[in-house]
């Protein structure tokens, strides 16, 4: 059968229309997409713990995996990309000296010295930030997570001074302008000018019985679980491998462990 160019273009046009109809919205997209929104049923089986914790196997990370984990977090939580001193970071990397300044090994092995370390909020068992917050905007919930209530934050930044790990960032400017419009996760709020933000250990994912996004993206290089439960995944790893924490002498009892 001979097909003219005109017929071919017509057919191609109709096919393209059909393919894009689902996203364009004139073929009942409303009902379809509404199913994708988290509903009450998604929260039926939350993951529960007394103190959530994390073990990071630092040897398994390279630059590509760092980027994957950081992007998974920052893209999903609408963390703005700002350069310089006003940077907003939930999860980031640092060298050994910056990550573990109290370790002071005199002759550090080369592998560890040149390695980067993935840093995030430690969700300390005894956090300093929550003690200094004058409005109880940040507090420790009964799952052991250090949570921010942005509605109540007055932007005094005491928590940033209190946190020994630099895990908190202040929104000096309206973050909306620094989130790429095509990357905005519409199902998750962003923050406003004048509040402090930080990692939440993906409390909204845990409530759906899922793992934090960085742990999922890490492909096994990060292990997550209940530190109070001896049978949990994290405790099993900690039983076998020697792991250190950042600035343990600050007395905050951090919940993120690093295998060197």
């Amino acid at each position: 059968m001979q097909r003219s160019r005109r017929d071919f273009l017509k057919l191609a046009g109709v096919s393209a229309l059909g393919l894009s109809a689902g996203t364009l919205g004139f073929l009942g997209e409303g009902a379809q997409a509404a199913d994708a929104l988290p509903s009450a049923a998604d929260f039926a089986k939350p993951a529960k713990a007394k103190q959530w914790g994390m073990v990071i196997d630092t040897a398994k990370f390279d630059d590509a995996l760092f980027k994957k984990c950081i992007d998974a977090c920052h893209d999903n939580h609408n963390v703005p990309k700002i350069e310089g001193k006003q940077e907003i970071k939930w999860i980031w990397t640092e060298d050994f000296e910056g990550s573990f300044p109290t370790e002071r090994p005199a002759f550090l092995a080369e592998a560890q010295e040149h390695r980067k370390y993935l840093l995030l909020c430690n969700h300390c068992a005894n956090p300093a930030c929550t003690r200094v917050c004058p409005t109880k905007a940040t507090f420790k919930n009964d799952e052991g997570l250090v949570i921010m209530d942005y509605h109540r934050c007055i932007g005094c930044r005491y928590c940033m001074a209190g946190c020994p790990y630099g895990a908190r960032s202040f929104n000096f400017r309206d973050p909306g302008e620094f989130i790429a419009k095509d990357k905005l996760n519409l199902q998750y709020p962003h923050r406003t000018r004048g509040v402090v933000e930080k990692c939440t250990f993906c409390v909204e994912k845990l409530a759906q019985g899922k793992l934090p996004l960085c742990v999922e993206a890490s492909g096994g290089a990060m292990v997550f679980g209940d530190l109070e439960d001896p049978k949990s995944e994290v405790r099993k790893v900690l039983k076998e491998k020697y792991a250190i924490r950042r600035k343990p002498d600050a007395g905050t009892d951090p919940s993120v462990f690093y295998i060197l």
Binding site: L37, S39, A40
Partner: protein, 129 residues
């Protein structure tokens, strides 16, 4: 009355000014605002009248329950369950903020800052139709 010729007209002018809004509004029915109703669902979390009165209280309670108490599922009077989320539940149905939320808020002159952080729709970007 001492200085009555100033005081009485003064009082009348004062009362006229104070009562002007009431006189002007007398006889008019209750304030009616036409909002765009959701197309995909008929039933809201609470009854319409109740929602009109207390949606802001409900949102505050939801916020405290979700953030402070870790409770994320709301069960209404008829036993239907909802995910307690402004963006994903409320705005998921009421997909056009300009034609729903803003209609009343503008009419009565309130300016809630919910949308400084919360997206106006879980499905569409701001301004997208």
């Amino acid at each position: 009355m001492y200085n009555g010729k100033y005081i009485i007209p003064g009082l009348i002018i004062f009362l006229a000014l104070v009562l002007f809004p009431f006189i002007k509004g007398a006889g008019l029915g209750p304030l009616k605002v036409e909002t765009e109703k959701p197309k995909n669902s008929k039933e809201c979390v609470l009854k319409t009248e109740k929602m009109r009165d207390v949606h802001m209280v409900l949102l505050n309670e939801w916020r405290d329950d979700v953030i402070r108490n870790g409770k994320r599922v709301y069960t209404n009077e008829s036993g239907k369950q909802f995910n307690m989320s402004l963006t994903n539940t409320c705005m998921g149905c009421h997909e056009n903020k300009d034609k729903f939320c803003d209609k009343c808020h503008v009419e009565v002159g309130v300016n809630p800052y919910c949308w400084n952080c919360h997206n106006t729709s879980p499905l569409k970007k701001e301004g997208e139709k």
